[in-house]
Assembly symmetry: C2
C-alpha cells in the first residue's frame, strides 16, 4: 500500500471513523482503524461491533493494499502535522507516514483480523436532511434512560406511520417526541441505541444534504454520501407511548423560554444543594412563582406568564425542565397542566412538531 493525500483530508476522515472506536475493548484490533487503498480511493473503517463507521477520501494511490493502525496514535500524530501532502507507505511490514520533515513509523496489524461491517442492500430507503436529523436527535436523546434496567429505553424509537417520521424517547419520568413529514415507503418501528445517535450527531452537519436510511431486521444504515454509519438495533418492543399522552388539559401557561430557564436555573441551585432537585411552581393569574429551599436557604422567583384556566401548585425535578428548555427551538412555550399529580406537556407556541412530557413530583403535606 502506498498513497498520498492532503493531511487535512485524512485528518477529517480519521476524526469521523474514530467515533466508532472504543478505547475500552477486550479486542485490541478494535482499537485500530482499517485503512484500505483501492485505485484512487482510500477507505477508513472503524467499529466497536455495535457501531461501525466507514468513510472514504480521494487520494493518489500508487499501490493498492490495506492495514490496521492504532486509532489514537494515528489520529494524534496526523493532527499535529502541518497541512501539506502526506504519504502513507508500507515497506517491509512497517508503515511509514511522512509529511515535510516528519516521519512516523508505526507497527500495523493484519487487516484480515479486522471484523467487516455487515453488508446492507440499500434498496428501500428513507431520506431526511442532515440538519433535520440533527435536530430530531438533539430534541429527543435528552429523554433516554441513563440506566440499563430496561435496555430498550436507552434507545430512541424510529417510527414511520403514514407520512410522519417520529423520534421518541422516554425514561419513566419524561417523554420527548419529535416529528417531521417524510415520503413514506413503508411503516416501520425500530429502536436505535442512544450511543449511536450521539456519535452520529457529531458527524452530521447543519446542511440540507440528504441522509439515506436503510433498515435490516437487526441493523440500521445511515448513508451520508462519503460516510456510512451502521448500527445494531435494540431488541424488543418499545413502550406504547401514545397512551401516556393526555388528551386534554385544564390549564395552559404561555411563557418566555429564556426567562423561565433563568429562573428555574437559579431556583435549582438550592434544590441541587438539598440533593432532591425539587422546585415548586405556583401558577397564578399573571405570574408563575418558582420556589425551592434547602437547609442553606431558599429561592423565590417570579416569571411573567399568560394563564388560561385555573391556578395550580405543582412540583418538579428542576433538571427535567432545564433539559427541555435548553433544546426547544422556540422563544415561547405552552405548558399544559391538568392536576398536580398528572403530567405537564411542553410545546412550542407556533408548531406542534415537538412534544415533551414531564411527570410532577407529588406534594406531601404543606411544604
Amino acid at each position: 500500500m502506498w498513497f498520498t493525500c492532503e493531511k487535512n483530508i485524512l485528518q477529517e476522515a480519521i476524526n469521523t471513523v474514530q467515533k466508532a472506536t472504543s478505547s475500552k475493548t477486550t479486542y485490541p484490533i478494535l482499537e485500530g482503524i482499517l485503512i484500505k487503498a483501492i485505485d484512487n480511493k482510500v477507505i477508513l473503517t472503524a467499529t466497536d461491533l455495535d457501531l461501525g463507521i466507514e468513510t472514504y477520501l480521494q487520494a493518489d494511490v500508487h499501490q493498492n493494499g490495506s492495514i490496521v493502525l492504532n486509532s489514537k496514535l494515528l489520529g494524534e500524530f496526523v493532527r499535529k502535522l502541518p497541512n501539506d501532502d502526506l504519504t502513507l507507505k508500507i515497506e517491509n511490514n512497517n508503515v511509514y507516514i511522512t509529511c515535510q520533515k516528519s516521519e512516523f513509523t508505526l507497527i500495523g496489524n493484519n487487516p484480515a483480523e479486522f471484523p467487516g461491517l455487515p453488508v446492507i442492500n440499500e434498496n428501500s430507503m428513507y431520506e431526511v436532511s442532515q440538519d433535520i436529523l440533527r435536530s430530531m436527535i438533539k430534541q429527543t436523546i435528552v429523554a433516554i434512560a441513563q440506566d440499563e434496567t430496561r435496555p430498550i429505553l436507552t434507545g430512541v424509537l424510529f417510527e414511520v406511520k403514514e407520512d410522519t417520521l417520529s423520534f421518541v424517547a422516554l425514561d419513566g419520568y419524561r417523554l420527548a417526541i419529535k416529528s417531521v413529514n417524510i415520503e413514506n415507503k413503508n411503516n416501520i418501528t425500530a429502536v436505535i441505541p442512544g450511543k449511536t445517535l450521539t456519535e452520529i450527531s457529531k458527524i452530521l452537519e447543519p446542511s440540507e444534504n440528504l441522509v439515506k436510511i436503510t433498515f435490516t431486521p437487526n441493523h440500521i444504515l445511515f448513508n451520508l454520501g462519503n460516510t456510512k454509519i451502521i448500527s445494531r438495533l435494540l431488541d424488543g418492543d418499545f413502550i406504547n407511548y401514545r397512551q401516556i399522552l393526555p388528551d386534554e388539559y385544564r390549564l395552559r401557561v404561555r411563557a418566555n423560554v429564556g426567562e423561565l430557564m433563568d429562573s428555574i436555573e437559579r431556583a435549582s441551585l438550592l434544590a441541587r444543594e438539598g440533593r432532591t432537585n425539587l422546585v415548586t411552581f405556583e401558577i397564578k393569574e399573571d405570574k408563575l412563582i418558582i420556589t425551592s429551599n434547602s437547609q442553606m436557604g431558599k429561592v423565590y422567583e417570579e416569571v411573567k406568564i399568560n394563564l388560561e384556566g385555573d391556578e395550580l401548585k405543582i412540583r418538579f425535578n428542576a433538571r427535567y425542565f432545564m433539559d427541555v428548555l435548553r433544546i426547544i427551538d422556540s422563544e415561547e412555550v405552552y405548558l399544559e397542566f391538568s392536576t398536580n399529580v398528572s403530567p405537564c406537556i411542553i410545546k412550542k407556541v407556533d408548531n406542534d412538531d415537538y412534544i415533551y412530557l414531564v411527570l410532577p413530583v407529588r406534594i406531601n403535606g404543606n411544604n
Copy 2:
C-alpha cells in the same frame, strides 16, 4: 447590614476573593466569604489560612454590618442573575439578596468566627507592574516541584539583589530564572508558595498598574489597589541555584521556537506511549534530528538550526522542553550544551532576562 450595588461589580469581587476559599476544609467557616458594609464601601474577605484575599467595591450602604455567606452558593446565584441593581439585606437573622424578580434567602454565619487576615504595615515596598509580575510567575512556576518531599521547592524564590528582582524555581530536573530591574529598597530573599502565585496570576491583569509588595518575616502582601492578597511564606532556605548554572558552553544551537515545539510534540507522542517520555536530540551541522520510539513504532523529525561548535547526541524528557517552549516570549532561542551528561541552557536570542536549565537523561548503550 443593607446595601445596593450593581450585580456585575459584586460578581467580580466574589470571583476575586473566591480564589482563596478552599472547598476541602475542616473549618466550615472558611467555605464562606466575609462581607462587611461600612459607609460607602463593601469589603469581601476570604481565606484558607495560608492565602487570604480582601477586595472592596463601592456601594450604596444603607446600614453598616457584616455577615459570612457560603462562597459557592453566593457565587453561583449572583452569576446567574441578570445585570441590574442588587440588594443585600439582613433581617431577622436571614440574609435576603434581591435583584429584579429574584429573591435568595440565605442562612448567614457569625462574622466574629471568621479568622481575620494578618495586619501588615505597608511601609517598605517593592513595586512591579501587573503584567510584569504575571510574566514572571508564568515563566517560572512551571519549574516548581509537584511533590512535597522538599516543601521549599514547591515555592518560587523572590530575590532582590542590587537592582534586580529575580523569580527562581527548580524541581531537581530543571531550573527557571526570570529577572527584571527594580528600584531596590532592600536586598531580600523569600519563598512564595506556588499555589499563592497561581491564584494571583488569575487576578492580575495585562496592565501597567503597579502592584505594591510588602514582606514581614512570615508573610507577603500584594496590594493591587482595590485588592490585597496576603500569603504565608515557605519556611527554610532555598537552594543555592547560582552554583548549578554552568559558566560556559561548548556548542550553541539557534532554532525557531514554533518548529522546535511542533517537532518535539510529535516525537513525544510515542515517547509518552512508552511511559518514559524520552526524546533523543542529534545535533548536526545544519539540523537537529529528534527521534523517539516505543513498542508501537518510532518518530523521526528534522528541525533546521544554526550550530556553533561540535555535533552532539543527547536525550531529554520531552515534557521539560515542551514546558519552556510554550511560555518563552521569543520567536527564536539559543540552546547551549557542553556534554551529553551536562545541563542544557535555553535562552531568548535577544534578551538575557530569562534562563531555563534542563538536565539530560543519560544515554545507556547505543539505543
